[in-house]
């Protein structure tokens, strides 16, 4: 063993004292960091504020995951069940029939599914496994009722310290939320009753 290590030399005394001071300082630093309102016992997760989101498309391309963690959500209470859905058809698809293919559909992965209900009304649902979070349908629906919005799928999100989509977001729409209330669903379960 290093013999000088156990001896109470002047240098070792100084070192021990400084160590104590530093440990105390670190504790104080931790407490200062933990004093704020934003501190949570839970994990903090990234989420999109749909009121700010412009559906620019960066979510699909900037996520660290090959298939983005961002997915499209649908607020069915707002959906107008339109026949000519702005989120489903490309603009200028006047020649489109009801069962249009890639040529007229906006969704690049056919994740936006159209189902006939009655007369001129159609139900639109999102196949979340196919959705890439590109927001093309969301952008389209902004011209309509705006019932589509993007959300970070918390089951896929890696929860990076700095979200790469957040840095690329032109509207600064990415915010941190506590993990026990991770979604910004416009239609909340409480409001349904």
């Amino acid at each position: 063993m290093d013999k000088t290590q156990d001896k109470l030399t002047r240098r070792n005394f100084l070192r021990t004292t400084t160590r104590g001071v530093c440990a105390a300082g670190l504790g104080a630093l931790a407490l200062t960091a933990a004093r704020g309102k934003g501190v949570s016992m839970r994990r903090m997760v990234w989420q999109i504020d749909p009121t700010k989101c412009t559906a620019c498309g960066n979510c699909a391309t900037h996520c660290v995951l090959t298939e983005s963690a961002v997915k499209c959500a649908h607020d069915f209470s707002k959906c107008g069940r339109c026949n000519f859905c702005f989120g489903y058809y490309k603009s200028g698809s006047s020649g489109a029939k009801s069962h249009a293919g890639v040529e007229f559909q906006l969704c690049p992965t056919h994740a936006f599914v159209r189902k006939h209900v009655v007369e001129d009304s159609y139900e639109y649902t999102i196949d979340i496994d196919k959705c890439t979070g590109c927001g093309i349908c969301v952008k389209g629906c902004k011209e309509g009722n705006g019932s589509l919005f993007l959300q970070v799928d918390q089951d896929r999100c890696m929860n990076c310290n700095e979200c790469t989509i957040a840095t690329a977001c032109p509207a600064q729409a990415f915010v941190r939320r506590p993990a026990d209330d991770p979604y910004w669903l416009q239609q909340r379960p409480e409001a349904k009753s």
Partner: protein, 430 residues
């Protein structure tokens, strides 16, 4: 509290719902009593690793690393733990959250109490520092996935000349100062953004980051831990903590016999040679140098602070709000012909330009002020390094330098005093 929150939520959503009905461009049709609208939902979190588990694994890993490196004095054990950490913290947890990146979260939380931060992140920042205060840089040795990545690919270490290590050794303090500056002003998390290995951990990433990671790996084959030694801001902090550590790595478990066998064993240049036998250098020159350096110190601090303040307006551009405000000004002055997604989004939001400009001005002020402090810090570190280079300390035997030793344990294998190296050799070379 929770109840109150729920009430407000219900109130909000009902009012929004009521006022929203009026605003529908395409009123939802009445689809009859048989129609049941699907429920709006998003996936539940199913495979979440609670932060407490991560913290527990970190504590276990740190304890094990300290035990293996200091008590067992086992290079193999350190190496195995290193690979395990690389597998868990690196490839399984994909590098997040790590203490290096936690510097920024903590800095932001200190300067902005409203910043969202998980307690686990603070613990991740504090724990390795605390362990280092007592056991040296055992975190670097076997827990940090970035260190582990470089450790396992190190094949043929080259010795770097003294002037180069001293020069490159300044980078971590610049990186630390900038990282804290950008995090504290809410501009960016540069450490995360330019983490060279994260793309490799994720087996995916932008081409630029993958190439950066690969080049760091290639360099790591010949230069020991280039990221840890010449960039890692957390390594700088750990180095300081290690200088005060209670226990430390000693090359020999007993008295050093000065056999010189360990001299070239450290790939990180952390072994200091004894100088007690050599004649002290010309004391007069040494004294003059020291006085010169003491004079240079305040100048270095002032100059560095001035340079950083001068650079502040450019650095403020790291903040998206500042970038946006500048863009809006340029667009309004018709200096540019097109718009960006960000300026488009801002104009859509209907926020007054004045408000944005005021916010940007405040951030710019913060960055300028912070730059001054960051510059002074860099200057101080430079000054201290210069002064310490001008002092001479007597060293009796071969020792691991407290600050730069990462406790990898390579030197253990070269020491003939180490009983482990003596016993199993059947030829008996001891």
């Amino acid at each position: 509290m929770r109840f109150l929150g729920a009430c407000i939520l219900v109130l909000l959503s009902t009012t929004v719902g009521a006022s929203g009905k009026e605003a529908f461009k395409y009123p939802p049709p009445d689809l009859g009593p048989d129609y049941v609208a699907p429920h709006t939902s998003m996936p539940e979190i199913t495979h979440e690793i609670p932060p407490i588990v991560d913290v527990a694994i970190l504590v276990i890993a740190l304890t094990l690393a300290s035990y293996v490196a200091l008590k067992k004095r086992s290079r193999t054990g350190t190496w195995l733990l290193c690979v395990a950490s690389l597998a868990y913290f690196g490839f399984y947890r994909q590098g997040c959250v790590c203490p290096i990146g936690a510097i920024q979260s903590v800095a932001e939380a200190i300067f902005n109490p409203a910043a969202a931060i998980s307690l686990a992140v603070i613990v991740f920042f504090i724990l390795p520092l605390m362990f280092t205060l007592f056991f040296g840089r055992t975190f670097c040795a076997a827990v940090c996935p970035l260190g582990a990545m470089q450790e396992v690919v190190l094949i043929r270490p080259l010795r770097l000349p003294k002037w180069l290590t001293c020069a490159l050794g300044l980078l971590p303090c610049v990186y630390l100062a900038l990282a804290v500056l950008f995090a504290a002003t809410g501009s960016a998390y540069v450490i995360c953004r330019y983490d060279p290995f994260i793309a490799l951990f994720r087996l995916n990433g932008p081409a630029g980051m993958l190439i950066l990671g690969a080049s760091f790996l290639v360099i790591s084959m010949f230069v020991g831990r280039p990221y840890c030694r010449f960039l890692c801001p957390y390594g700088l902090l750990l180095g300081w903590a290690s200088k005060l550590s209670w226990k430390r790595v000693t090359i020999t478990p007993d008295e050093c016999i000065k056999c010189r066998l360990c001299e070239n064993s450290c790939p990180y240049g952390a072994i200091t040679t004894p100088n007690a036998d050599t004649l002290p250098d010309d004391r007069k020159i040494g004294a003059i140098t020291l006085v010169c350096m003491l004079v240079v110190a305040p100048l270095a601090i002032a100059a560095s602070a001035w340079i950083m303040v001068r650079t502040a307006p450019s650095m403020a551009k790291m903040h998206p709000t500042v970038r946006l405000a500048e863009r809006i000004v340029r667009e309004d002055a018709r200096e540019v012909s097109d718009t960006t997604d960000a300026s488009q989004a801002f104009r859509e939001s209907g926020r007054p330009t004045k408000e944005l400009a005021a916010e940007a001005a405040e951030i710019r002020d913060n960055v300028t002020q912070g730059s001054g402090w960051a510059g002074a810090f860099i200057g101080l570190v430079i000054a201290l390094r210069l002064i310490s280079l001008a002092t001479r300390r007597t060293r009796e035997d071969y020792q691991a330098d407290r600050a730069s030793c990462v406790a990898c344990g390579r030197c253990y294998e070269f020491c003939p005093v180490n009983p482990r190296n003596r016993a199993p050799q059947d030829g008996g070379d001891g």
